[in-house]
């Protein structure tokens, strides 16, 4: 799951920092336990010590733990803030989205994602975006809570009915990225996936035009059928 967006870089780094912070604590607690078990068994003739742990040691351990917690907090704050930064589109990205992010609405519904592009084109399941372009997804839901999760491109976010949530990413390489829905949403939840296809800006323009034209043609055909009286 290599990161392919500036935000996920930061998440990846912070994940490893957190891993080592956790590992330090696990090793410290369990190492001390193992040491106590090996060294202080009554069966080896050890006598219990009457001397209490000095107050100074307690204060030092408390101070050490506080420093550790504060350090983890500050580091997390810095990296989270960086991960939240909205990256600017590159020159090689979509020209019309050079100053403002490309806004696409992602609608979660049992058990499929629908994507609405700025020019009234839409697609199901597969989101198509131009490379090197900042994309902002507006996450909404028409039924239950869903979570949009394409780990290579962005952190996950919930789509909650009645609220709009946001995901921002800038894909730096063309390709197809897999994603899943990550909040339990009923019977077909396990199969509720999504895909992001990253293509060049030129191909993207062509895709949305084609998508729009096809949708228009299909609608025209339906309207024509109704007007000619063949279908009610």
């Amino acid at each position: 799951m290599a990161p392919h967006s500036p935000g996920t870089d930061q998440i990846d780094t912070l994940l490893w920092i957190g891993f080592f912070a956790a590992a330090i604590l696990i090793v410290a607690v369990n190492g001390a336990l193992v040491y106590a078990l090996r060294r202080y068994r009554a069966s080896r003739g050890t006598e219990a010590s009457a001397a209490p742990t000095p107050r100074r040691t307690q204060i030092r351990v408390g101070a050490l733990l506080t420093a550790f917690a504060v350090a983890v907090f500050v580091v997390s704050l810095v990296y989270t803030d960086r991960a939240r930064e909205i990256p600017a589109s590159r020159a090689s990205g979509l020209a019309s989205a050079s100053s403002e992010p490309l806004r696409i609405e992602a609608t979660g519904q049992q058990w499929l994602w629908r994507y609405d592009y700025p020019n009234t084109a839409f697609s199901y399941y597969r989101l198509v975006v131009p490379v090197d372009t900042t994309v902002e997804l507006d996450l909404v839901s028409t039924d239950v809570i869903h979570t949009w999760d394409v780990p290579a491109l962005a952190g996950k976010r919930d789509a909650v009915p009645g609220k709009t949530n946001h995901v921002v990413f800038r894909a730096d390489e063309e390709g197809v990225y897999e994603g899943r829905s990550a909040t339990f949403s009923g019977q077909a939840y396990a199969a509720m996936g999504t895909e992001v296809e990253v293509i060049s800006p030129r191909e993207y323009e062509a895709f949305v035009q084609l998508q729009k034209a096809e949708i228009q043609a299909a609608q025209d055909r339906v309207v024509g059928l109704i007007e000619s009286g063949e279908e009610p």
Binding site: M1, T8, I11, L14, G18, F19, A22, A23, L25, I26, N30, L33, Y35, A36, L37, R39, Y40, R41, A42, T46, E47, A48, P52, T53, Q58, V61, G62, L65, F68, A69, V72, F73, S76, L77, T80, A83, R84, D143, V144, I145, T147, P151, A154, G155, K156, R157, D158, V160, P161, G162, K163, R180, S181, A182, T183, F184, G186, Q187, Y189, A190
Partner: protein
Amino acid sequence: MSPPRPEVVVEGFPRRRPRWMEIASSAGHKDVGRTMVVAALGFLFIALVELLLMRLQLAVPENTMLTPVTFNRMLSLYGATAIFLFAIPLALGLFYYLAPLQIGARGTALPRLGQIGLWLYIAGATVLYAGFLFTPSEAGVNPLPPLSELAFLPNNGVDAWAAANGLVTLGFLLVAIDLVATLRTLRAPGMAWRRLPVFTWAAAICSWLLIAIGPVMLAAITMLLIDRNFDGVFFAGGSGGAPLLWEHLSWIFYSGAYMLILIAALGAVAEIVPTFSRRPLQGRSLVIGSLVAIAAIGTLAWMQNMLTAPIGIGWMYYAMFLSLALIVPFGLIFFNLISTMLGGALQMRAPLLFAIGAISAISIGLAAEIEHSMVAVAWRLHNTTDATAATHFALVGGSVFGGFAALHYWFPKMTGRTMGETMARMSFWTIALGTLLAFVPLFVAGGDHGEIVDAYKFFGGTGVSGLNLIASIGAFVLAAGILLTLANAILSRTNGARAGHDQWGGDSLEWLALSPPEPHNFDLLPDVRSDRPMRDIREAIAHSSSRRAEPVAPESQPVA
């Protein structure tokens, strides 16, 4: 000031009804507490069956053993059973049995309240499982609306879930009120708050915590029932309601319950470790203060569970701050528990073994929770099996290792018999191995491969097939270990070695009472003069018998 207590207690009317009827109708804290513990262990068994069914389904990719609907029902029942019917009542039952003994009381202050609490819990459990007669809930561990609304799950399952957990929570609340009243009014002469055993402190903290979080859950459940049955829109998104409201209310309860289970376990461990180290608990007041801090901070950090929801970034940082602040009190407790062992003379009996297992597993689970508290990392790891592994390490550490440590430690007090040591050791190592096998692979599957939770199947070729298989095998090992202890308890109930009243040389007052204690607990109680009253009593007895030894000895000479 405590009321004057009678020196002579008359009891022992001949029993006219069968024993089970006596127990079922009794409001004595020992009968109620023991019934609660036994019921909780029974529900542990049922939760295991549900877990194993889910793990069987997840053993191989795209398995079709269970239908999605059956899997979702097992998932929903498992969540409710493990938390509401096993972990919390096990802690409360032990508190209810032991706290009055530890403070030198002859009963509880409001016994009928505790009795009603027990039966509301049993009634709730019955309602949950009566769901099998029609349909159990399919809404998941935490039934988030709108999924749990009538429009998406129109059958009665969610109603059964809500009614059941409402009854159970109400029951817990009543038991907690009785415990608070008892601890405030019935402490023996000299039993100041600062002399209270750590386990009784845990009882007090958990009771107050339940009084804080219980009504929140009851309110949420009531709103859900109104939504589903009376056209309410509390949680209906888009029609004036807010699905996020349920998330807030339910996570306040679940976060508090998480802390409650850990506080109860650490309270028990803080009794067991000193007893078997032959050394008083180090930093006693610091440990107690830390337990209080955990209850407050841990519950206020509920939004740690909502870091992907549409809430402001400020709230996320607030939740991260509080969650990470927990490192200090938990760290101080671990430090003092281990510091008690360092310099002690460890007697490697079953209770200590399980207590060490609890410290170890809880430390791993909570350390892993650090990642889930770091906001940006939570955006990656939220709802992955990494989260499952973290909570299961912490809660298996708390309720299984910690609960079994308490069970082995107080079993002699409750039954007059000790649990078999060999079987206890076998059980401990099996559970330890099972926990590692069942949950370490889930850390990898979630952290490395982003495998999601609650899904009824997974797909091959995503790198998690081997991990899931190991986890499923581990779940069976874990279950085997747990069954060994349950079997050990059942067998030892009648065949265990007889236990004396002071089985382990513990320092708190329950060891003065007989094993099992008389209905009135104590005939006579000396004034409490320290935080180790039982040691004072032992020393006083030793002192008086050595002083009497000289004059008494000649008199006992046979008259020639």
